[in-house]
Amino acid sequence: MIPEKQAETVWMSGNEAIALGAYEAGVKVASGYPGTPSTEIMEHLSEYDGVYTEWAPNEKVGLEVAIGASFGGVRAMATMKHVGLNVAADPLFTAAYTGGRGGLVVLTADDPDMHSSQNEQDSRNYAFAAKLPMLEPADPAEAKEFIKEAFELSEELDCPVLVRITTRIAHVKAVVTPGERLQPMVAPGLEKHPEKFVMLPAMARRRRLYVEERMTRCRQIAEDSGNNVIESGDAQRGFITGGVSYLYVKEAFPEASILKLGMVWPLPEQKIREFAGSVDELYVVEELDPFWEIHVKAMGISCHGKDVIPAIGELNTGVVKQSIDPARLRGESFSPEELPPRPPNMCPGCPHRGVFFTLSRLDVFISGDIGCYTLGFLPPLNALDSTVCMGASVPIAHGLEKALGADSNRKIVAVIGDSTFVHSGITGLINSVYNGSKGTLIILDNGTTAMTGQQPNPASGALISGEPAQSIDLEALCKALGVRHVSVINPHEVPESRKIIRAEIERDELSVIISQAPCVLLPELKYQKPITYFTNIDNCVGCTSCIRIGCPAISWTPFAKGEAEARGYKKSQKGYSQIDEVLCNDCGQCASLCKFGAITPRDINS
């Protein structure tokens, strides 16, 4: 059966739908920091007229900007990934007391299974901890509607409203129906409301009471909400579920009764009791933490949950069937085959590669950070010894130094990207200066926030719109912070950079090296072909110094027995290396390492 095509629908991702929803809700100001899987929301929102959007240096700043805009009486939104909400948690917990004037929505995107994250975190816990309502859509169409409802709820209850999505909402494309842009009811203006905007203890104590009163009202809203729906079916098994898990349940158990919770928090206790009483066996199906399960059990209702459903990673229809009724699985399935792995890798021409190649040859502990350069960990470079969170590279290096004293001298290097340095590395560097660190920090300045897809940052010289902006001078900044030895290197000149990196590590004082070369994926560089480097196979002696930098565009061809001699090479030569000119991005790092004239600039005139 093929349904009639619905009129005026658009096929879009969850992130596009959220941007559209915010636009339709009349959002005026939006701020955020890029983070997979949330990044494209702000990018899409920046394309709408009448909405001010920006990239903030970090999520805390982004949320504070949105709070300010809400105080000014306009609808405002902050977007971030789950770990970004940790950074923004400080303003969030007090904004829960202040409320605002214009609707304030805080969007957080969780990444179950850690497709592009350093941990797996369930942001629903923040709704409980900060005493705030939270909504969670199941697909892009709902995402658009829920954002609009979140703004209304925020104004009705005078508090920020959290909207949680996961990777399988953000990066899923589905059919969405666009609507009209609303004219918000609140009027913009500078109004003073010290009783709720100034959170001194005396005022905060009064607002604390309001927070409880608000959540009591919100619980009633949850009972009546059309987003918390009972779908009556076979009473044998009943499911409490929501978000993308709802879709897996719907597919695995199409006949079952379902209570779908679109409002994650607070919970509709009466509705849950009524539903639980109507089914023989109750299952709570949720990704990650047993968030609902704990609260359902606290109501004295017995149910299955994490006793059968995994608390780790993503769910899918197969996992839901396997956990509850394995007989429903498709027949036999194949096991994976043993194959050479294909992990993500730094791109051909990536400026970070040369620096990591140098570091991999020094006996140092490399304190890393969050970004493309985290891939320096992978073979053949193996040049990263710790990665924790945004900005942690600098203080972790400092902590190691303080723990080990003189034993750590000339043995610790911190590595951080430009965007991450601006996000939260600067305060760490201030600490290193203030408390007398002697290590070396390398700022990998590729002029962009590369991992999330080349968003500009305060050191890039451009705004989210692409218009030019004041750019932070990283060299001057480090000097102003009190770092006495700041040098700038071109990472593509590997031997030259190596000299400086070695000298700074040897130095018995704090130093910063700024490795400056743009990301090769920046649109303005991407199509700067033709490629000028190529391999003179005749000159290759098989020394593998180009292979060892681990560039995806360079590959090794081994000689068969006797082939080396037959082709006129030394008998002992084991093979030769070659550049794939389709993949090559022309950085020249390999050429700077080749001592045999086997990788040379092509004579463009020939």
Partner: protein, 194 residues
């Protein structure tokens, strides 16, 4: 949910899987189906193995294909055809670009590219259709049209109109590359019949 059809796209980051799956999905939407597509961005995209999952039918719930559930796999590279075996079942069809892109361990001489790797699919009663998309793209005069050749090969197996896809390609690719893309699409359709 037997009326939902599942297509798994697999390949190496940078091969144009996004555009290929997008063209396919748009054609299916135009044919009146409900379509959902799931993909992963960020770190997973950097030159590593990537997938996109596309499902279509009268009403699609889950955005993800369950293990063993892929009816068709469109593989952009041979190793990446075999890597997702747990998604396939006996009787699945795998269209595979016969290109080899060396993973790091092979490129650096620490491992070998497996020989006759597609036999591992055939042994399990999976129908394999080989498409030399790189050769088609070279013939077209623009090597970056390999992904459109693969869309052509895949489209033979889907309830979509050839003309409609050609119109979509015209809409989506830069005008100066339209002829080359059209050539690759048509040659891909020829190859897709196996």
């Amino acid at each position: 949910m037997s009326e939902t059809t599942n297509i798994l796209f697999s390949g190496v980051g940078g091969q144009g899987i996004l555009l290929a799956s997008e063209l396919t999905a748009t054609a299916l939407l135009a044919a009146g189906f409900d379509v959902k597509k799931s993909e992963v961005h960020g770190m997973a995209q950097r030159g590593g193995s990537v997938t996109a999952q596309l499902r279509y039918g009268s009403r699609v719930y889950s955005p993800l294909i369950e293990p063993g559930g892929a009816d068709i796999q469109m593989a952009f590279e041979m190793l990446e055809a075999v890597r997702y075996l747990p998604y396939l079942h006996a009787g699945s069809t795998v269209l595979v670009n016969t290109q080899r892109i060396l993973p790091p361990s092979v490129a650096t001489g620490r491992a070998d590219y497996p020989e006759q790797v597609l036999d591992r699919l055939r042994q399990r009663n999976i129908k394999v259709i080989e498409v030399d998309a790189f050769a088609i793209a070279k013939q077209s005069g623009e090597v970056r049209t390999a992904n459109v050749a693969l869309v052509g090969a895949l489209s033979v197996h889907l309830p979509v109109e050839e003309k409609m896809l050609e119109a979509l390609i015209e809409e989506r690719v830069p005008p100066r590359f339209y002829e080359q893309n059209l050539f690759s699409f048509r040659a891909g359709r020829q190859a897709g019949n196996g």
